[in-house]
């Protein structure tokens, strides 16, 4: 099934954010849940193998938008040889966009492709989190491939494709984690240094950073991510295992 969501956030009178466009078709509904926030609500089971969702977001200059989901997305395979399900988020951001969906759980035999393509304006700011769990409890892991490309003024800031699950290139024993989390933060401030932790790393980007962590369970990966993204003073105490570095 094809799903399309479109949201446009605009700076309105008094600096408040207005949403002149807010529509959805297919398997997602969109609800305004705050002054500058929307929740995407799944109206059907899935996503199921073969489903295709496109989420188009425009955040105009001076506007803010937070996008959430109400529950984890549980990706299920079709019967037999299941085609991948896809979700693409395409965002043009001149204001501030916060993408904070609930985790994606890719069940056994399912394959999910998630794209995040962002064009940032000169003052555009982005905070995007991703949480992936391969397989439900006691279940074989599914496959997940996530591509992130962010450009500012047509210059690429980050372009990575992470493949997880059986058969994926960067998912080979002894490092083949079921849980993966990442946060990309581009607020235009000076990039901080590198921080390394236990199965977690934060890397500087022009105007921000990207942090990634992994583990056997989501809560474990999330705690490792928090350990490398906490304010600088707390980092040394929080990191365990590998020696943290600040460069």
């Amino acid at each position: 099934m094809r799903t399309v969501v479109e949201v446009v956030a605009r700076r309105g009178p008094g600096g408040r954010t207005v949403l002149p466009v807010m529509r959805a078709s297919g398997q997602l509904a969109v609800r305004r849940t705050g002054a500058a926030s929307v929740h995407l609500v799944a109206t059907a089971f899935g996503p199921l193998g073969g489903d295709d969702a496109e989420i188009r977001l425009v955040v105009e200059e001076g506007a803010r938008l937070s996008v959430h989901t109400v529950a984890a997305a549980v990706v299920l395979p079709q019967r037999g040889a299941s085609p991948p399900s896809r979700q693409a988020v395409r965002a043009e951001v001149a204001g501030t966009l916060d993408l904070a969906p609930e985790p994606t759980v890719v069940t056994a035999r399912a394959t999910h492709e998630a794209d995040l393509l962002v064009q940032l304006g000169p003052d555009g700011a982005l905070n995007a989190t991703e949480q992936v769990l391969l397989g439900r409890t006691e279940e074989e892991p599914g496959r997940w491939t996530g591509t992130t490309r962010v450009e500012r003024a047509s210059r690429p800031l980050l372009h990575t494709t992470v493949g997880l699950g059986p058969g994926a290139p960067a998912w080979l024993p002894p490092v083949a984690p079921r849980a993966y989390v990442s946060t990309l933060r581009l607020y235009g401030d000076a990039p901080p240094g590198v921080v390394t932790g236990d199965d977690a790393v934060r890397l500087p980007l022009p105007g921000g950073w990207v942090a990634t962590a992994w583990g056997a369970e989501l809560h474990e990966a999330a705690a490792r991510l928090a350990a490398v993204t906490a304010p600088a003073g707390e980092l040394v105490a929080a990191a365990t295992g590998l020696v943290p570095s600040h460069r």
Binding site: T160, T161, V162, P169, P204, L205, V210
Partner: protein, 216 residues
């Protein structure tokens, strides 16, 4: 195709500085990810399918960019694409060091007007693509050299660090040949972005060490 030029480009004796880099193997050994022949093969396969594929795509594109109407602009764009695919500062530095080393030797070995279009301190795959073009090779050859170098250097580093049997390590590298060809042909027409956060983490922990043997 100038076959001998391809052999020269992929030869570890080409003094482009590759021998001072372990491609993450030194830290993989330190953390216990690589301990023996089997875990080395897994590590090399992982590296080939991620940073090897990315390097192959960029090298092929850089080789093609030499014939672009504005090669300097095209190579500069590719260098920015390489940066976006290499968020780890340690891996960026390693790539640029080897790129500079290759420009130094390549410019003397294969004089060509394209060298003037190479950005200062280019990423290694960008320099490799230009070296291939200057040596009379095509994009597919550049991709193959990049994919091969993604495993051959780290394999040698592992041999030295673990005092492994050279024949065992040579066999591991040789048996990866079909996968090297696959990574090269699969990447030659596009710019893959396959990333491995584990390699980023290993590279950064390694760069912060005072007692390392290899530069990366």
């Amino acid at each position: 195709m100038a076959l001998a030029a391809l052999l020269t480009l992929a030869d570890s004796r080409l003094p482009a500085g590759g021998h001072t880099h372990s491609g993450g193997v030194e830290q993989a050994i330190a953390t216990g990810v690589v301990t023996d022949a089997a875990s080395l093969a897994a590590f090399l396969r992982r590296r080939l399918a991620t940073s090897g594929a990315v390097a192959a795509g960029l090298a092929a594109a850089a080789c093609r960019a030499v014939d672009d109407a504005d090669p300097a602009a095209a190579l500069s764009c590719l260098d920015a694409e390489a940066d976006a695919r290499t968020p780890s500062p340690a891996l960026q530095a390693a790539s640029r060091q080897q790129g500079r080393g290759l420009v130094r030797v390549g410019g003397r070995a294969w004089p060509h007007p394209a060298w003037a279009a190479v950005p200062p301190r280019p990423h290694h795959p960008v320099a490799l693509g230009v070296a291939a073009a200057a040596g009379g090779l095509g994009p597919a050859d550049a991709a193959t050299a990049a994919a091969y170098l993604a495993v051959s250097g780290p394999a040698t580093a592992a041999q030295r660090l673990l005092a492994m049997d050279p024949i065992t390590v040579a066999a591991i590298t040789a048996r990866l040949a079909p996968e090297v060809d696959e990574a090269a042909s699969g990447s030659a027409a596009e710019l893959p972005a396959a990333a491995d956060p584990l390699l980023d983490l290993l590279a950064e922990v390694h760069a912060a060490r005072k007692d390392r043997f290899f530069a990366s």
